[in-house]
């Protein structure tokens, strides 16, 4: 993993979380900004997966457990699609808050992934 990218990704996920939670509390149903922010979070995770596959070959070796890292990464990859799916089925303001919860969960999981990969 790359520290700078991880920080950017956590910041992106937190921003998406704030957008969605505020949008939901303001009474908005899931809309383009909230759904779009989750799509960005998912794309950033896919990029992280590519980085994780390539990095060891370039000398960026994980310090911690590789399977544990991938348990987090694969679970994280599943969360935004599930949240968007939920938001499309149940079109209420609370689904916007659910999108935000998913985004914040991704922020925490990406941070945990960096901890496992190594904070060095």
């Amino acid at each position: 993993m790359i520290w700078g990218y991880t920080i950017a990704q956590v910041a992106l996920a937190c921003a998406a979380g704030l957008i969605c939670v505020i949008s939901g509390l303001a009474g908005r149903k899931p809309n383009d900004p909230s759904l779009g922010s989750l799509v960005l979070v998912e794309l950033a995770l896919i990029a992280q997966l590519v980085i994780a596959i390539i990095a060891p070959g370039l000398g960026n070796q994980p310090v911690g457990s590789v399977p544990e890292f991938y348990v987090y990464l694969i679970s994280a990859l599943l969360i935004p699609p599930l949240a968007v799916f939920w938001a499309l089925i149940e079109r209420t303001r609370w689904s916007s808050v659910v999108l935000g919860v998913a985004a914040f969960a991704i922020a925490v999981m990406v941070f945990r992934m960096q901890q496992i990969w190594g904070l060095g």
């Binding site: 399977p67 544990e68 679970s75 303001r93 919860v101 969960a105």
Partner: protein, 169 residues
Amino acid sequence: MSEHSPEPDPASAAKVSARGGAGVGRVLVAVYAVLAIAATGRSVFQIIDRFSEAPVAFALSAFSGVVYIVATIALGARLRGLAWVTISIELIGVLVVGTLSLVAPAALGLDSIDPFGRESTVWSAYGAGYLLVPLVLPVLGLLYLWRSGRAPAASGTSPSEVATSSPKA
């Protein structure tokens, strides 16, 4: 283009407003789902990878994961009785295990009390490794169950009141 686009009728509008409380419940279901994944995923990994290091703690962690899964389903399917039981177990669990992990970590077979460490479980140090969500969530869950259970009784007007007040108008 069809002119039959349905206007929101009063009955469905009333249904939507009555579901306001249920809406918050949906957020609760989502948070529970995330915690269920987090607790179960982590404990399964710990049990496969290093069960011998702290068997009691990891077994408790797996148990908590199962409880979170059942609680998520109970809240989602509005099985109130099951939700009361599972969320109560969570509150008791996080208080008892959280206290033990700080006061007597050896009782759980823990060498360290670091809530972010490799032996940390979902209930260690009151769930500090999960931003205290495991401590806050059961309280919110029980409050939600209590309030949503009271809501129908509070909103209903008693027939005698209607009977006595209507002739005056």
